[in-house]
Subunit: 183 residues, 2 copies
Amino acid sequence: MTQLNIPFELIELDITQKETRTPEFLNKNPNGRIPLLELESGQFLWESNAILFYLSENTPFFPTEHFERAKVLQWLFFEQYSHEPYIATTRYYYHIGKADEYRETINQKREPGYAALRVMEKHLSDRAFFVGERYSIADIGLFAYTHVAEEGEFDLTKFPAIQAWIERIKQQPGYIPITARNL
Amino acid sequence: MTQLNIPFELIELDITQKETRTPEFLNKNPNGRIPLLELESGQFLWESNAILFYLSENTPFFPTEHFERAKVLQWLFFEQYSHEPYIATTRYYYHIGKADEYRETINQKREPGYAALRVMEKHLSDRAFFVGERYSIADIGLFAYTHVAEEGEFDLTKFPAIQAWIERIKQQPGYIPITARNL
């Protein structure tokens, strides 16, 4: 939103306090999850990558060519199915101070998390960005939890192409750190 | 593809025999998963819902209105994150005859699977289809594992709106059963 100069207000909710499971919130997103986008019209959109699509369609951050459009979504579905459940959730256990309590779960998530990073590393070995050699929401969606994977003790030093890509993303005009204050 | 009259050849792979992890297959999808779409151009697209998007964009099965387009994707991301990991994988354990072996995992997946069905039931309680009151790939994507959820011992009799929607989908012109022969 910063890169598109879209004004917004950020409201943080604490999932450890079940703030996304209140009747009021469930009226906005019946699935009880964040992020949630509220439009000026009062309409609500949930699922982070659907929000990225909504905000970026018809901008330089989403391709115009038919196959490239699908390829951006391919990487975003990869992010939700093969990346986030391992890399983001592992980091979450560390952040809430429960890495020891969830050690067995973390250990189970380690190999599939590295598998996702290997898929990314291979793809980026001869590319600057994920799709069409230009920065898109495929990069934004994958950057989110990848650039903080080490906070969940994933070792990114084994992935030089990913590391170079992370630095490339941080150099994009209008880039701001996206890690929320409390997580 | 049948509903759009797109000719195709269906090639089935056996994941229990690791047929999606061969070097040949990994050259086509480095993430080693099916489905995989090969175009006449020789290009490959993976992730089931990205394939649905590619095939349906600019057809009646994907909306033209900006917000509705994002809403279709919202439901498809919901399907991949909150539905498939519980409902499809549970059915898979039954299908490969390992429900007893995976009983603890199945038990853990039961409540989140029902949670996804409750979100669907509530949404369908006053709607015929998921988005914009017309049949779209949001319906197709969610129909896939929902209409066979009972094969994983999810009880759909508790969900009358879902049951009516399943019958509605089966009445769509060009509908064919989509359950693969071996699964």
